[in-house]
Symmetry: C2
Subunit: 211 residues, 2 copies
């Protein structure tokens, strides 16, 4: 099963690597890191280089497509070549997925029209610009399209997808293998739980830096 993760300069690394860590452990997975042009991409912080082994043309009909987010996803929303590739891949895909603001790229490709979808909480309202119904949930499935909320939500999305593809026991074995028994030191991971001061810190500036 070919699983394509689209990367680009300015992506948020964990958007891609959370699902990578889950999906690459699926039996028979052939995980491919793909970009408009193959080669090294730098993440949104600039601090990490990740390599796209393949260009879009090298991979035409992956069974799973995943689009991460990050500030570098904005130019993709206006890139005809990327959008056309996504539309074409979506036609033949078994699952088309996104994490964080990757949903806005799916939206710009027309893939979310009429669908329930989610994205990073700070960008949720934007989904309606693409004909989608914004849903404030961590993982949203609508047919073969699965969208995840911000950044870390990609791990939960990928475990959900792993169960759809290979069954609950395999997904649970992957969860146990990556010891995903989360225990954050604070309960501040959602705007419904964080203080208004912390929400304002994220909305206005560093260090939350939603993208």
């Amino acid at each position: 099963m070919q699983i394509a993760i689209l990367i680009f300069d300015g992506l948020t690394a964990l958007d891609a690597i959370g699902p990578y860590e889950v999906l690459s452990r699926l039996p028979g997975a052939e995980l491919r890191i793909v970009a408009k042009e193959a080669g090294l991409k730098r993440t949104d912080t600039g601090a990490l280089g990740m390599k796209a082994d393949l260009a879009l043309d090298d991979l035409e009909a992956p069974e799973v497509v995943l689009v991460p987010g990050g500030k570098g996803s904005r130019p993709l929303m206006r890139d005809p070549e990327v959008l056309e590739w996504l539309r074409s891949a979506h036609e033949s895909s078994t699952w088309t997925t996104s994490v964080c603001t990757g949903a806005l790229v799916l939206g710009a490709a027309g893939i979310l029209d009429g669908k329930r979808a989610t994205t990073h909480w700070a960008f949720l309202d934007h989904l309606s610009e693409f004909g989608a119904e914004p849903v404030a949930e961590r993982v949203v499935e609508d047919g073969k399209v699965i969208t995840a909320a911000g950044v870390s939500a990609g791990i939960d999305m990928a475990l959900t997808l792993a169960a759809r593809i290979a069954g609950d026991k395999v997904a649970q074995a992957i969860q146990l293998g990556i010891e995903y028994d989360p225990d954050p030191p604070f309960d501040a991971g959602s705007p419904s739980k964080a203080s208004s001061e912390v929400i304002e810190m994220v909305r206005t500036a560093e260090p939350g830096r939603p993208s």
Copy 2:
């Protein structure tokens, strides 16, 4: 503040990228990806290339040191150059940290002698070989050494560390920025919670593949 994440061929990507995503958002963070030799490293699945921008010699006294795990960490445990660098970095560091089997590398460098520490659940017993006291907790602090359990535990560890460095509100803003409000579809992320069948799947083979 210089934060060094050591990478190597055969690392588990999420071990490094979970903490990267948290720590790179700290105000004033200068996050550096470092390896024995600079250049591209492939992760344990082979499916992802990550670039080490710096070699060990390029970075002598980082304030924070983080060692991820993965099957590629085994050769590091016998690599005098890496172990000497770690010992030297630990002497001047503010925090020395590990995720998953990265703890065994800290152990091999002598850094865990007499300390409470943790690692991936499947490797916990090995910590005593290095004079450490194995602790079955997700994040273990002992002085300036913080160790995390398997793979995904690095996110919780890094949020704990972010709070120590920059205070609770900054850590909470980072948590909210990465929307870390985990909601896994199964409750199977720890051997105390998973079924014996699932534990056996992880212990013996794919797809859990502890490393």
